[in-house]
């Protein structure tokens, strides 16, 4: 049977079980929008292609399935660059389809031509320009295979207009054909048995072990088995910004988030540890601080599916290349065997009590607002958290509000936290929340945004109202580029340069209303809970709550960029206790 390339594309997406895609039409991709009319795939029409990309990411974050974005050539493809890079940095499975000028026009600077494959080469796991309609089904199968296996990531398929228009004979490649077409792609998933044994021995011998969980634990769906390991041996756990929810914050072994704005307990436990068991984590500079001063006494077990992560920042004593879940299962087995064989774990009771001591001495804390004074952003978050229906998904932008979100929420389930970690993309939250809600319509989705971030992608609120995607957005509106302001206050002698949005922060309530959302403004502490309750009760349209918060609040604790984790800056109220960090 002969069909067009465009029909083959849509059919291939259906074969890959795509139920929804986020996109925006235009010249070169037009042929694909015609067969879409008859397809079972839901298409969500965004207002800016960046939104489509972040929606695809949000969808992938919460479902584990690849998000799909489809846009046209030239400016639409370049609008997709930021989300592609974001997905690449955070290992989010995503398939992007871009239109391209016809094959005969490639290289001529034709209207809306750009070298999409060239531009996105270093920010995709793989990309491909498809030059013939016959090649489309295989290209799509490869894209989904590559995006979702090994270390996940974004894959871009660039399709010239004539390739979409030409006719071809449909053939859906078999698994074997896909394998054979990728002779260089064989991700290692099973860990090396000798290394696993070695790891188990080190774990039992450690006196000050810490389980250092990164995003790979969520990607490989390893949370449960990792918890078994932690509980079997009572090992304290830290969850990075990308792994929040991989281990319950409410668990007695959980020390919270490490890193630049991590808890003093998590940061210090890693610093003093004699064994870091890194699972799907990549020793990011925001976690290690100054690398030469990071966890100097610790041996390292590093489990990661990407061999290039082993030794990239810190040389592991036991490198294990493999899928976090499969490897963790094997490590757990090896631990049980050793224990059954009479081995005993080193006494870690003193270590545990040191860790609990740090937790007790250095809880996250802020000064509640004085009567009549401005709202505290942390208070708003606590209130949203305490009123949130079970399983609520929290999405954040980038800045102070992101760090407070990660700090003050209690993550008790995997896949309830969506944020831009590696790239730190302002404007991520509104579209990512829309994608998350599309992926999990059964869940409440709260986006916590900054007043700066919100202004980057808020146009997607109209997408949400028209497509009936009732997300909730809480803007922690400090009328500043708060995180930058904090750095200028602390590291640039309070010389504030281009961070004050105060003169120009728009009326977010009116903006929300103009976008078909409910807008609520909150100025005082008494208004917080009623506003949240009202927002939670509205499920037929999006809601935007504009929390007018204290302008000069800072995020603590903090490790200054490039500083040693030993020099963590505590909240002012805890400074007199610093000695307990020993």
């Amino acid at each position: 049977m002969k069909i067009t390339g465009a029909e083959a594309l849509i059919k291939a997406l259906e074969m890959e079980s795509v139920d929804v895609m986020f996109g925006y039409p235009g010249g070169c991709i037009l042929p694909a929008y015609d067969p879409l009319l008859k397809s079972s795939i839901r298409h969500i029409l965004v207002r800016h292609e960046q939104g489509a990309g972040h929606m695809a990411e949000g969808y992938a974050h919460v479902t584990g399935r690849p998000g799909v974005a489809m846009v046209t050539s030239g400016p639409a493809a370049t609008n997709l660059v930021t989300p592609l890079c974001d997905a690449y940095m955070d290992s989010i499975p995503m398939v992007a389809i871009t239109g391209q000028v016809s094959t005969s026009a490639i290289g001529t600077d034709a209207f809306q031509e750009c070298d999409t494959v060239g531009i996105t080469r270093s920010i995709t796991k793989h990309n491909e320009l498809v030059m013939s309609a016959e090649d489309l089904p295989l290209a799509i199968r490869q894209a989904f295979h590559i995006a979702t296996t090994g270390r996940p990531g974004p894959v871009l398929i660039d399709i010239p207009k004539d390739v979409l228009q030409n006719s071809m004979t449909w053939h859906w490649p078999t698994d074997e054909e896909v394998q054979a077409s990728l002779p260089g792609y064989h991700p290692t998933t099973k860990g090396h048995p000798r290394m696993i044994k070695e790891a188990a021995k080190l774990i039992l011998a450690a006196e000050r072990p810490v389980l250092y969980l990164g995003g790979g634990v969520l990607k490989s769906r390893a949370a449960e088995v990792v918890r078994e390991i932690a509980e079997l041996l009572n090992i304290p756990v830290v969850t990075t910004l990308m792994a929040r929810g991989a281990f319950p914050d409410s668990h007695p072994l959980c020390l919270g988030m490490p890193g630049m704005h991590g808890t003093a307990a998590a940061v210090t436990a890693m610093q003093k540890s004699d064994l870091l068991i890194a699972l799907g984590a990549r020793f990011d500079d925001r976690v290690t601080g100054k690398v030469s001063a990071f966890a100097q006494e610790a041996k390292i077990i590093h489990v990661d599916i990407d061999p290039a992560e082993q030794g990239k920042v810190r040389r592991p004593d036991v490198p294990i290349v493999g899928d976090c879940k499969l490897v963790s299962i094997e490590i757990l087995k090896a631990l049980r065997e050793l224990l059954d064989g009479g081995e005993v774990q080193a006494d870690i009771a003193p270590w545990r009590s040191r860790c609990s001591g740090w937790q007790e001495q250095f809880p996250l804390s802020y000064e509640p607002s004085a009567p009549g004074a401005a709202l505290k952003p942390q208070f708003c978050l606590e209130q949203i958290r305490d009123h949130a229906p079970e399983g609520t998904i929290l999405v954040s932008g980038v800045g102070q509000h992101q760090m407070w979100s990660s700090q003050y929420w209690h993550f008790d389930e995997p896949y309830t936290w969506v944020n831009s970690g590696g790239l730190g993309t302002m404007g991520f939250s509104v579209p990512a929340a829309i994608g998350a809600k599309v992926g999990r319509p059964d869940k409440t989705v709260w986006a916590i945004d900054g007043d700066g971030c919100f202004q980057m992608t808020a146009q997607e609120l109209i997408t949400a109202s028209i497509s009936k995607i009732p997300i909730k957005v809480g803007i922690l509106n400090n009328s500043y580029l708060g995180m930058v302001r904090q750095w200028q206050e602390m590291f640039y002698g309070e010389r504030y340069s281009e961070v004050d949005l105060g003169g120009g922060v728009p009326d977010f309530v009116k903006w929300a209303e103009a976008m078909g959302c409910v807008g609520i403004r909150v100025d005082s502490p008494e208004e917080v809970a009623p506003a949240i309750e009202r927002a939670n009760s509205i499920n037929d349209r999006p809601v935007v709550v504009d929390f007018r918060v204290e302008e000069f609040e800072k995020v603590f604790p903090m490790v200054a960029a490039g500083a040693s984790n030993d020099d963590i800056i505590l909240p002012p109220s805890q400074n007199d206790r610093r000695e307990y960090l020993r």
Partner: protein, 179 residues
């Protein structure tokens, strides 16, 4: 005036890739993106038309080399990477140079070419074009000597290499294909 990397830092990577459009750009942009320096690079199809071999000489420390190899492996079209030990491989390079001559010293230059078993490709009134195929070190020496006469133009291909046949384990195939 040999500009070749010092022996301990010079590494030869023999990279087998799928013979597809854009692969060379991918390899080159990976080096640029991660801040690695390519010293020389040669690429050509292999005995199997599905694959090409890229021979890359890099000038780096061991730890950086390990990262380069691992990052290269992550390229989907990269099928195999071998690091060739310079001691256990045969390396060849081709060299062409146009050398100035005043007519009087032409005989000297030709004699020099004969000693090196170089070929005279073209003879002009005031210049000679020579070619030499051989080990990179031999090419270095030849180049050095020709400089005295004045080199007008010079082109080297970059080295290609294969493991020596007389011993086992000439090449260290790096295992553990990346995701």
């Amino acid at each position: 005036m040999s500009t070749y990397p010092s022996p301990q830092r010079h590494h030869i990577l023999s990279v087998l890739v799928q013979n597809k459009a854009g692969v060379l750009a991918r390899v080159a942009s990976l080096f640029a993106r991660r801040g690695y320096n390519i010293f020389s690079l040669a690429v050509a199809p292999t005995e199997d038309p599905q694959f090409s071999r890229i021979t890359i000489v890099v000038d780096v420390e061991g730890t950086t080399l390990e990262q380069i190899v691992k990052q290269l492996f992550k390229l989907i079209e990269v099928v195999r990477i071998s690091e060739l030990d310079p001691q256990k491989s045969v390396e060849r390079e081709l060299f062409m140079a146009t050398v100035r001559t005043d007519g009087e010293n032409r005989g000297q230059i030709v004699e020099l070419a004969n000693i090196f078993e170089a070929k005279v490709l073209a003879v002009g009134v005031d210049a000679l074009t020579l070619s030499l195929e051989g080990s990179p070190e031999k090419l270095d020496d030849f180049e050095e000597l020709l400089r005295g006469y004045g080199i007008v133009e010079l082109q080297r291909t970059g080295r290609i290499a294969l493991p020596k046949l007389d011993r086992e384990a000439h090449s260290r195939a790096v295992k553990g294909k990346a995701s």
